[in-house]
Amino acid sequence: MNARETGAKVAHRTLVVLFSIFAAFPFAWMLITTFKKTTDLLDPNSFPFGYPKGVTLENLRVLFEETLFLRWIGNTLFVGVIVVLITLLLAVPAGYALARLSGSFGEQLGIGIFLTYLVPPTILFIPLAKVVSTLHLQDSLWALILTYPSFTIPFCTWLMMGFFKAIPKDIEEAAMVDGLSQLGAFTRVILPMSVAGILTVVIFTLTLVMQEFVYGLTFINSGRNFTVSVGVPSFLVRGDVYFWGSLMAACFIASVPIAFLYNLFVDRFIAGFTVGAVKG
């Protein structure tokens, strides 16, 4: 290997390491902070990457026993499961119809539906707050269940449309020759083949629900009803008192496991984002 190749290799390694540290440092720091004693946390001169005064599980105990953290996780899962059901029920048939039954108009409509994913909660949360209070859903998880499909349906319809397009048309034609109707071919032949696509929709809907913040902050007022992404930043910080140990533990626990799950599906997700541009 000549000097130039070695140089390129060193530069490559360095860049990869620097980027990884930049991306992952906050999470590593959360994990380190989780086990720190308060005396270490509140001493600006104590060595930050170690545990000079020893390790403690007190922060985790406080988080699980003295805060509503577990309840927030439960709330998030409750909202997540129902939103997943609504999304599957509406987005899967729509995706199929756009992919197979409506020609080039379907393509246009599909792009139109996808673009509504770009309408951000920050434009809609003010009128929705009024709608929610008119429906007497203020401070209820059902307000979130009602509004979250507004961003999960567009994205998942688009994902499913791409997924169904990749299935060869012959399969349905053969099923229809065997006497199934168009609808029968969809429900009895295509759907059972689409478990992977449906699973992708489930994972993405769950992550989107987990990440949502603006609607949660707007519609929910009492601590018991928060989801985890809103409860942690607004309730573990009381006035100016930060419970850093428990706070960091909560952030780590609520963000890293889902990242592992998501990582398995990420390629499909990106294909959804770039479907138009990659074709060229």
């Binding site: 860049l15 980027f19 990884s20 991306a23 440092f25 906050p26 999470f27 720091w29 959360m30 902070t33 001169n45 930050p48 609504i86 029920l89 987005a91 048939p93 729509a94 119809a97 756009l98 197979r100 039954l101 409506s102 409509l109 509504t116 770009l118 951000p120 920050t122 434009i123 809609l124 949360f125 003010i126 929705l128 707050a129 009024k130 709608v131 009602l146 349906i153 168009q182 609808l183 029968g184 913040f213 603006v214 902050l217 930043p233 930060y242 909560a250 952030c251 609520a254 963000s255 890293v256 990242a259 998501y262 990582n263 990420v266 984002f273 770039t274 138009g276 541009a277 990659v278 060229g280």
Partner: protein
């Protein structure tokens, strides 16, 4: 013919529920916000009177609104310019095969997958005024600042307006970089290997290949990545809400967070709708650009 066998009737039935839901939860609030912005609706009022463009006029006269408008553009543009450069570098790095690539990819994706509000709290702790790890490194490691007499005091990251803005841009870069990188990576891997081989045979250097072949070829997809990142950064209020709550003295407020504080905390739905609607023209432009990109890619 039965409905189950009639493709176009079936299509309508299968698409209708999704369309109706979207129209109800996106369409209705959108038109409501148009109405709110020209009225005097508050949280507690039931009705409201038509005011014309009064809300927009008073928004434009308000210095904190003008500040927020400027900040919104500054945060979105600055963060996405940095993201374009960094994501291209990172994607080129990740094109090569190396040991442990899957774990690097997992780490790099973390900021995108983790809930933004929680990731931002991680940064809140890193940038804390007293216990900041960065300041610890600056003091104990480099000795460039510190609390002792005669030393420059260490920066209060979120307490000084310019540093607070820099911090917000940094966190926005941190969280949109993964998406742009992965989209870019998709673009890079769609370039046929022959092109790289031909360039190598002709003796093109690494940088010449990068700027004259790779970048022009992935430009359309780079644009997709940037448009998404721009829309997310432009309309975001979470990073600002967690890091600074718009402070110090409303200096780091963005349109979305200002609308939140005014409308939800303050109850002035009309004024807040007018502020949030200023996001709309930029969003519409982004959507049109994206449509044109999608169409052009299909024609090719």
């Amino acid at each position: 013919m039965k409905v189950a066998d009639n493709p176009s009737a079936l299509a309508k039935i299968l698409i209708a529920p999704a369309l109706i839901y979207i129209a109800a939860v996106i369409g209705i609030p959108f038109f409501l916000s148009l109405w709110f912005s020209v009225s005097d609706v508050t949280v507690s009022s039931s009705g409201g009177h038509y005011l014309g463009l009064e809300n927009f006029r008073s928004a434009l006269e308000d210095p904190s609104f003008r500040r927020a408008l400027g900040n919104t553009f500054l945060f979105a543009i600055a963060s996405q310019v940095i993201v374009i450069v960094l994501s291209t570098v990172l994607a080129v790095c990740l094109m090569k095969d190396f040991r442990g690539k899957w774990i690097v990819r997992l780490l790099i994706l973390l900021p995108w997958v983790a809930p933004v509000s929680l990731g931002s709290i991680g940064w809140l702790w890193i940038l804390d005024s007293i216990y900041s790890i960065i300041n610890y490194a600056l003091y104990h490691g480099l000795g460039v600042c510190g609390p002792e007499p005669g030393m420059t005091p260490c920066p209060v990251w979120l307490g000084q307006p310019s540093l607070a803005m820099l911090s917000i841009i940094g966190v926005q870069v941190w969280r949109t970089l993964p998406l742009a990188t992965i989209i870019n990576l998709g673009g890079l891997s769609s370039i046929p290997q022959d092109i790289h081989d031909a360039a190598a045979i002709d003796g093109a250097s690494f940088f010449r290949t990068l700027f004259q072949i790779t970048v022009p070829l992935i430009l359309p997809i780079l644009l997709v990545a940037v448009l998404f990142g721009f829309v997310f950064a432009f309309t975001d209020m979470i990073v600002v809400w967690v890091l600074t709550r718009g402070g110090p003295y409303d200096m780091t407020q963005v349109l979305a967070s200002l609308a939140f504080f005014k409308g939800i905390d303050g109850g002035d739905l009309a004024g807040a709708s007018a502020i949030a609607l200023f996001l709309f023209p930029v969003l519409a432009a982004a959507a049109i650009l994206m449509l044109r990109l999608a169409r052009r890619a299909e024609v090719i």
